[in-house]
Point group: C3
Chain length 495, copies 3
Amino acid sequence: EQCCDRPKNTNVRISLPAVCFVWQIAMIILFGIFIRYNEESDAHWIEHKTSNNISSNIENDFYFRYPSFQDVHVMIFVGFGFLMTFLKRYSFGAVGFNFLIAGFGLQWALLMQGWFHSLDPMDGKIKIGVESMINADFCVASCLIAYGAVLGKVSPVQLMVMTLFGVTLYAVEEYIILSLIHARDAGGSMVIHTFGAYYGLSISWMLYRPNLDQSKHRIGSVYHSDVFAMIGTLFLWMFWPSFNSAISDHGDGQHRAAINTYLSLAATVLTSIAISSLSQKTGKLDMVHIQNATLAGGVAVGTAAEFMLMPYGSLIVGFCCGIISTLGYIYITPFMEKYLKIHDTCGIHNLHAMPGVIGGIVGAITAAAASKGVYGTEGLANTFDFMGKWKDMMPTQQGGHQAAGLCVALCFGIGGGIIVGCILRLPIWGDAPDNSCFDDDIYWECMPSASSNNPCLGPHNTVSIASNVWRQHGTIASFEMLWVCPVAYPDRGAP
Amino acid sequence: EQCCDRPKNTNVRISLPAVCFVWQIAMIILFGIFIRYNEESDAHWIEHKTSNNISSNIENDFYFRYPSFQDVHVMIFVGFGFLMTFLKRYSFGAVGFNFLIAGFGLQWALLMQGWFHSLDPMDGKIKIGVESMINADFCVASCLIAYGAVLGKVSPVQLMVMTLFGVTLYAVEEYIILSLIHARDAGGSMVIHTFGAYYGLSISWMLYRPNLDQSKHRIGSVYHSDVFAMIGTLFLWMFWPSFNSAISDHGDGQHRAAINTYLSLAATVLTSIAISSLSQKTGKLDMVHIQNATLAGGVAVGTAAEFMLMPYGSLIVGFCCGIISTLGYIYITPFMEKYLKIHDTCGIHNLHAMPGVIGGIVGAITAAAASKGVYGTEGLANTFDFMGKWKDMMPTQQGGHQAAGLCVALCFGIGGGIIVGCILRLPIWGDAPDNSCFDDDIYWECMPSASSNNPCLGPHNTVSIASNVWRQHGTIASFEMLWVCPVAYPDRGAP
Amino acid sequence: EQCCDRPKNTNVRISLPAVCFVWQIAMIILFGIFIRYNEESDAHWIEHKTSNNISSNIENDFYFRYPSFQDVHVMIFVGFGFLMTFLKRYSFGAVGFNFLIAGFGLQWALLMQGWFHSLDPMDGKIKIGVESMINADFCVASCLIAYGAVLGKVSPVQLMVMTLFGVTLYAVEEYIILSLIHARDAGGSMVIHTFGAYYGLSISWMLYRPNLDQSKHRIGSVYHSDVFAMIGTLFLWMFWPSFNSAISDHGDGQHRAAINTYLSLAATVLTSIAISSLSQKTGKLDMVHIQNATLAGGVAVGTAAEFMLMPYGSLIVGFCCGIISTLGYIYITPFMEKYLKIHDTCGIHNLHAMPGVIGGIVGAITAAAASKGVYGTEGLANTFDFMGKWKDMMPTQQGGHQAAGLCVALCFGIGGGIIVGCILRLPIWGDAPDNSCFDDDIYWECMPSASSNNPCLGPHNTVSIASNVWRQHGTIASFEMLWVCPVAYPDRGAP
């Protein structure tokens, strides 16, 4: 690994714009060739309505799914973005690169998922509507989960590469799991969380930095960065019912998925807090657990949310996951770093990987236990989509298919992550040296952080600190005022 | 009060996990026995639809109420949570304990409200759906309002006890007011705000700390904590129309409630700002008023929001409440603390208690003044639910019932608060000593705040300050870098 | 400009409350005379439903538009408000005055737009419903855009005057563009963004301060103020699809507008980031560009969002606008300040003016290119509203009308801005002197910022800094603790 000892070049001035432009232009060309509006978003809807005897515009899928879509959208951009702002000096990278990944990923996801799921055989075009947008956001979620494992340790160019492959792998495994295997996965416990988390962890394993302790003083939060992270936590937590119900069946499917998720998450809050308090000598709570483990119930109820899991079943799932996830933060994350050489910045193993696998198992069990008594004859066929070539499927069989789906998600996550991790080890991507990880100064226009200087150097130092907070909006700065006093922080006093 | 002079033990390592586990397990058992999906969220919906001749899935109540539910959910978790982050050193407690209260409260509320309102006589089960979730969130709101009065002065265990009793009392008074008395209260001016505020104020009165001035230096904000609080304010303000319309009648009821609330809140903004400016020698505005008083119009229009209050009526309500609420912050809160021995951290008396009572009165007057000319014959019966055993009710009578409802809410709030306050005085709950109130360091893993040390002690001190901002995410810290300079803040320069 | 050299009086204790009270009372009177519920929000809805053979309450416009309304509402209050918090010492003013402008503006907008658009000829009343609320929010958006140009340089009284005239002008130009000229403008590229931006820029030009460099040290951000601004950015970005689809046609119109906006914004993210990286020697990104330029695609797709722009067309619009907007921040904003004497605090020329004009042009081209083949016969008439007196209109003609609409928006923006700017130059409005711009201390109760003192004065200075973070909530402070140490920041260590 001698290449890693070379002074690293973190200049991405050529590579980042190049990747953005080339890929965006490719998107435009591919969208031009392949993507069109579906019948509900096309101007022919008015004729389609008449010919299909649809009585009202309110029957347009837009009105069934758009509120859920908006909630999912908030989870992707504000939820994931702000959840990762907890680091004291990587908030720009957290929210900014999250934005970049999602902005690119959703376009590529529309294409990849379109080819597999909504290619119109008549004209060879992909027809998109509100459900496509939700699915694209879902796909992006798996890449953002993976980002959590490598947060602060990779360059934006690496993230773009990771997203390109992540979306591609996602579309394939989703097709295999949902269409070929006919597993159900409304909230994506398997398809999104298990896949995304193992994809990210495998990449993090491949990119392991033995000397990361040189940046260890930046792996921590400050008071206000923890409050920012709570914005992410809460928007994820609140809108998770919409996430799990966004693409489930119209009517009772969406309704039930929302209720189950709501309950599971509520139970998780209590057990996360209980374990967090138990883990400290004086019973104090740790914000890391509150920010993350409280969400585990939403992950774990994802697959079974649309099934007749029953309200108490949801509570039990949430109860267990709050415990497991919090214990994961306390014991498993340090273990994985020390012994398995997997550094997991945000602890996605505890928030997505373990709960995702649990969710897959819960889904398999719930499906296998389904009966006509509980669901009704029509309800059973409707909920599990026992129609067409699957019309003779039995619930027990469905349980097996669910389990098979979980295995596929695991394989794609781990296998894909190892391959992509190898690609990302090439020394051409502009990632930061070991002593500059978790530092926004590498990729963002903000002066060097004071903690990397001796803060006692007098005037010069004051300027370097002050100029840190000095970034301008299109004008030329005069530093005079800041030179006055070398000791106190003139500017930092203000805010 | 000699017990209060003892050094207090704030260790909640046994009590907090015990309460969380015991209550969560109780919830699972009770949910297992009692709670099932209602016909709109059960898999039998497809059969129910056929047998009830429902033409489309869009008729499922989910599509009428879910967007409003999500807005209410945001108000509960982000709105109330962030509104209370204004204290310089209690943001974790504000948003974290808010999360805990709400997570537990909503489960208990589903049970309590279910027993009173939606017990199916056929099988003795409570049937839940989207409206139950909204009602549970509403119930939790009253407990969060009460939290505002005692913010920073109680332990999380006390909050759990307060929530347990608060939800119980709420369910009973709600049943009396809405079902027995047949008062209408769409936005909960009486049921939620009046009850919740007086419940909290009575508890705060019972828990009065004569020596609280030992913590006075922490009762204040810093620049950025005020900006965080504005997140709470704005999400409450913006989504209040959804709050007041969430459970009102389908169609014109929800529509009108949203419009009335929208208008009332707009008027409140202007008068709050006017009085705030008037109250200072140089006309400067006070963030406390902007954060809180601007919301009073939403509280006060709660009961009458679904009535034909008329747009100008809504503006008048908002106009008055902005004035009264702001004056309350200026004159009444200090008066109550000094003479009535009621310390009200967030000023809930001004934001919830007074506007809630006004809302009850406005509701009574509006109801009494209702006429068939304004509402139409069907509209009148529909709006006031003059059906079944109430079909011969007159608007003037309804006005009386509204007033009776307000009295019930007041009695439950004050009476319940005094009783629960007595319970919370027991010296077993782990609350903070008088000199450590409003301080996250008591219940959260973050190093002691610098303000409680002499900050001139040299290296040791720097470390204590620095370590304060140092919390780790699963790794071991090296403090070396921070030892360099004892004078300036190495780390605070960075963020 | 001798008047500008006089010491300015920033006391608004008379003028601000006076304006708020007088205008709010005027609103109540005018609402009393003019504004009533429309048939969908009136209690007669139940009779209206029967007589119009409406089968279900779900057909009430509330259910078509309320989720979009709430998203727009969030954009107005949180989106615009937080986007402007980036300044290190003007976050209160950003979010607080934004709140004031919007709270007043929406009331006045309901009246002005009502007179032009929804006056019931039967009784001379304005009938309001959910669509009126969306339109009022849209109108307010144009004033908030204008606020971006003068952020930090005007008093709240000036902002109220600016809003009064801004809303009035908006209502007139909207009537001319949409009703007289029959241009279509679903997302308001012309009506909202072009008008609002040029209105603000013209006012900023009229209020040019040659000595503004005295406040230059405050035109910049600190680390956390940039994170706050990202909250604004993301909520604007995420909910822009709702903005552009909020008032478009039920069914495919809303559906298509949301898709087009979603895609355009995604493309903008990539090109903004690419140009931002290219513009710095080492490829670092600038938060200003990420916060602002990433939104340009939403502006530029506004007019054409409901047309058959096609998915790739949306991507192309977003692609171009990301580039143009970012280049604007790099080159045009400094140029305008230096040579045109237009200081544009938030860079609205890059985010709203240029993309707005592009949006108008794209709309004209897309309309002119419309054909029955692409839209279907009914779809074409439906999309462009070729009905009634416009039933013989051709797409090419419509293109011309769109272009005419753009010119009207430009004229109203520039002309109106110059006139209102003249009014705002009167020395009676309490605006800040040149050396106190961008400073919350002028209009908000927070102690003077440390940067305006010599921070080396010893104890006194510590107190002034500390008291800065000391604002109280209704109690009297004891400063003792803060006197201990003159060098380090006792309090700033805490948060």
